[in-house]
Amino acid sequence: MLRNAWLIPLLPALSFVAILLVGKRLPRRGAELGVGAVGASFVLACVAAWQWIDRVEGATGKSEGLRAFGKGVLGGEGGEGGEHAEVAVAPVTRGFTWWQNGNVEFNVGIAIDGLTVMMLFVVTLVSFLVHVYSTSYMEGDRRFTHFYALLSLFTASMLLLVVADNTIQLLVGWELVGLCSFVLIGHWWEEKPNADAAVKAFLTTRVGDVGLMIGIIVLFFAAGTFDIQAINAQAVEGEIGHTLLVVASACLLGGIIGKSGQFPLHTWLPDAMAGPTPVSALIHAATMVVAGVYLGARLYPVFFEGFSIDGGTINVMALIGGTTIIIGAALAFVQNDIKKVLAYSTISQLGYMVMGLGVGAWVAAVFHLFTHAFFKALLFLGAGSVSHSGSHHSFDMKADMGGLRKFMPVTFWTFMIGSLALAGIIPFAGFWSKDEILATAGQNEFTFFLVVGLVGAFMTAAYMTRCVYLTFFGEYRGHGEPHESPRAITVPLIVLAGFSVLAGLVNASALEIEKFKEWVEPTVAFPALEHPEFELAGAALALAVALLGILVSYAYWFRNLGPHGITARNPLARAGYTFLENKYYLDALYENVIVGSIKGAIARASYWTNQRVIDGAVNGVATGAAQVGRFAYDVLDQKAVDGAVNGLAVSTGQTGGLLRYVQSGRVQRYALMLFASVALLSLALFVFSN
């Protein structure tokens, strides 16, 4: 299967075409094709995962441990830790010529290793659940078929990105998921805000893509290839100059910032919530936005060497991630829209991953990507379930929700599990992954980022408590008749809740399980990373901070303690609140100042230059030529040249006028002249001949 992993993206791609062609004529209007294809991809991904694990375990001589994973599901119990000799397990690759240039052939192909397999599993699983969920959630939508076609296309593109063995192919997948994101955010494009959000998302990520493109180009010339494995190998072995690596990693970081919603290009992600909720869950929480993190993980040797991550000094990557954690979490506090809370939370969590990469916590960052995909998709789908059956298609927590726990028990409990996982409470998935990031940061002596991470954990726990309170507790403030959602919605919630509980256990360092690291961390062309030992104190501290966050928030919301109404009394607090409400004025800066000036003044000035200066010059030349021509015609031609011609004609005429008197027309006069002349000539002859 590993060599045939290209089938996994191909199936959804085929279903995209099929839904476009015949979807509308099918009984379920194309949904069955999408669900079927992605389901099949999921099965294939599981087989691939199974085979990869087999390969790794076989290489380390522990194949008997495999039996424990008979279900083929990664979430199973790990079993033994023990000694593990580092044995190189090379990725499985396959490809063929895609294009050639200057007699050099470039491949398109797949490279399957642990990271890829993990991503395949996550993407196909979440996508499959979202497909199932949408059959009910999107029922009766004006563009149901269209929605499913694009979900399929998105899944195919994301999988293509994941299996790519070269940077160009990665770029192709990267842009295609951006396209799907664009169309799906603008799914209800009749309303202008949705269309605006779609354009904003595409353009903002595209700004980052400039960096990605240039980064790929620099790497190509530095390493002489687009092949990711080869680039990584050269970066690790120091065959690429440090300056080039710095430039390349800085440029690539631009791509990560754009795609993964990092500060300062995070502003598109909250707006992207204008799309349907399943889309938010799949694209803007679980999969597409982690593409940036995936890129960082995939080309990690480049970043590792470029940013000198092993040095323990502050680097741009960790700094960006850290900043994003705090600014995202802070904004989550002031949102009334449940999806916006989750969106800012996603930004903040992506910040953890990027910071994790920045502090050398590769396994932890990727692990957090893995767990986050489950609980964040769960939270989004839960929010969707609430709006679908509880609040009458509204996402406003303060106006239309509250007290829903009584009406929607399944949604409530699964949402609670997701929240606890996000807040990092033991034993849910988020605890293990977040703790590992913090532990590695501490161990690699990135103390500053350890603190940032802890503050972030506190804030995460607090705003999630607020969110849960406003949605499920208190009095019901909506106008509908809340009830539990149908099975197609609740079953995916339950499955995801299961993963949110168990997924952390594949790499639970406290229990000495490090299966995730074993399976996923590359062993070829990869820098030697330090892995932290489990420290009870650190884990306890993280847990305590999270619990404190919950406690404070609980006191404030549930018990009505603390400085309520402080924003009305204290001008400083009010200023801070306004600052947050306006999202640090970044949107205003981008939309009014930058985009506004380019689209308005600068574009108009260019066009003015075009019409007045350049075209004016052209027209001026033309007018000048016409005037020269007129002058030439009036003065030179008509007066001088033609004058000369006419003068000649007139004088000829006058001469002729004189002569006409000779021409009497009378034959006899002519004869007279004839004879007279003959006589004269004869006389002359007579005279002169003598």
């Binding site: 010529t97 050639q100 240039n101 770029l171 192709v172 493109m213 380019i598 260019s606």
Partner: protein, 512 residues
Amino acid sequence: MDWFDSGWGLTLAIFLPVAGMVVVLAIPKAQEQAIKIVALLTTLATLAAGVGLLVRFDYDDTGDLQFEANKSWIDVIQSRYHIGIDGIALPLLLLSMVVTVACVIYSWDHFPAPHNPKGFLALTLLLETGMNGTFAAQDLILFFIFFELVLLPMFFMIGVWGGPNRVYASIKFFLFTLFGSALMLLSFLALFFLTEPHTFDIPTLAEAAGEGLVGSTQNLIFLGLFLGFAIKVPMFPFHTWLPDAHTEAPTVGSVILAAVLLKLGTYGFVRIALPVLPQAAEDWAPWIGLLAVIGIIYGALCCLAQRDMKRLIAFSSVAHMGFVMLGIATLTDFGINAAVFGMVAHGLITGMLFFLAGSVQERYNTRELSRLGGLLVQAPRLGWILGFCAMASLGLPGLAGFWGEFPAILSAYEPLEGLPVETFRTFMVFAAIGTVLAAGYLLWMFQRVAFGEPKPEFESAHIHDVHAPEWIAWTPLLLLIVALGVYPNLLFKITDGAVTGVADGVAKAIGG
């Protein structure tokens, strides 16, 4: 099939349309159906000849001229009827044929006012001969004649079937390009008289690679060629004829103009200017690159200021041709390959965009962006095709536009040895920023036209979705956009050998 390979096939591909034009002219004006059928059959037969060339082309030897004919023609000036195609000319020749067929089909039921299909189709056929001939000519005089042959039908197309301001636009187009070609002809003559033995033969001149010409003379000759080609491309600041011509031209005229005519200029650079005068090309390359990058940014900014959909697309051509010229300016095989790919991709994509602009105008009787909206509501298929083409145009990977754009940017990182590397890397960054602006104006255009609700004035208007002639005309173009995007080697494999030959020639001439 010996006759086909020995030049007759190519000759057929060039002159069939003119034969068809004669037949069309012989049919009485009233028999419109017969005229249309003859025109369609002619273009199809030409395309069949083109497919024949494609099939019998030797892909292991794309760098050499194939289907060559070399007969004496005008002995007094030693100009010969020398035609032949290599890997660079073949795709462009095919592009010209496909686009012409699409144009004839597209205009089947709706000829622009003042109607008169006879005249219109006759001009289209004459245009095709001019375009095909330019791509196949291997003799400077022959090239020049075909190059100029294209002008006249286009002039009449704009001047007769154009919009309200057609007279101004057509005259501007005609004079501007004629000005360029006059200088170009001067350069051709200079080349003729300054080489020994005197010849107009392009391969011979390329073989000599400017040997025996003093540097300053080379530069002067190159300047003449540059002006002739740059106006046709069009490069900043010689582009101002383009928006006017496009805005006023009838749909089919715009399509042919954008899809094929602009390529004559860039093709001229690759076929004549670079191989014949490599040293001058090296001297001029940074300036060409600079103008190309200015064109990219500047064209994009002008797009953002447009209120007319067609004018916006016209300015986008300035930006896109900037990428092509940037690729050429690097003088590397990588860049020139990207440029040739970019030419074909731009021909397909921008041709499609002009078709769409024409269809939108036909349905709404306006191209004002502020009056349009909700196309997806009233004509969803048309709207999605517009979206698809906008995406292709902004260089979305997986569609054809990407493979012209990205490698061109990439090639600017490392131009030919001897060119200023830092300058070109700066160009690269600006070109990459240009892609963001491209996304900006295209998405903005798409949003204004397709998203939202229809404006009140068109709310109750009956808007047809894509109809049959449009489907037939567009499907091949759309399929090609996808096919070239998904598997770019379809094209790179053909061009690579020929381009490497050109680039090696340039590199050798500069190095030695």
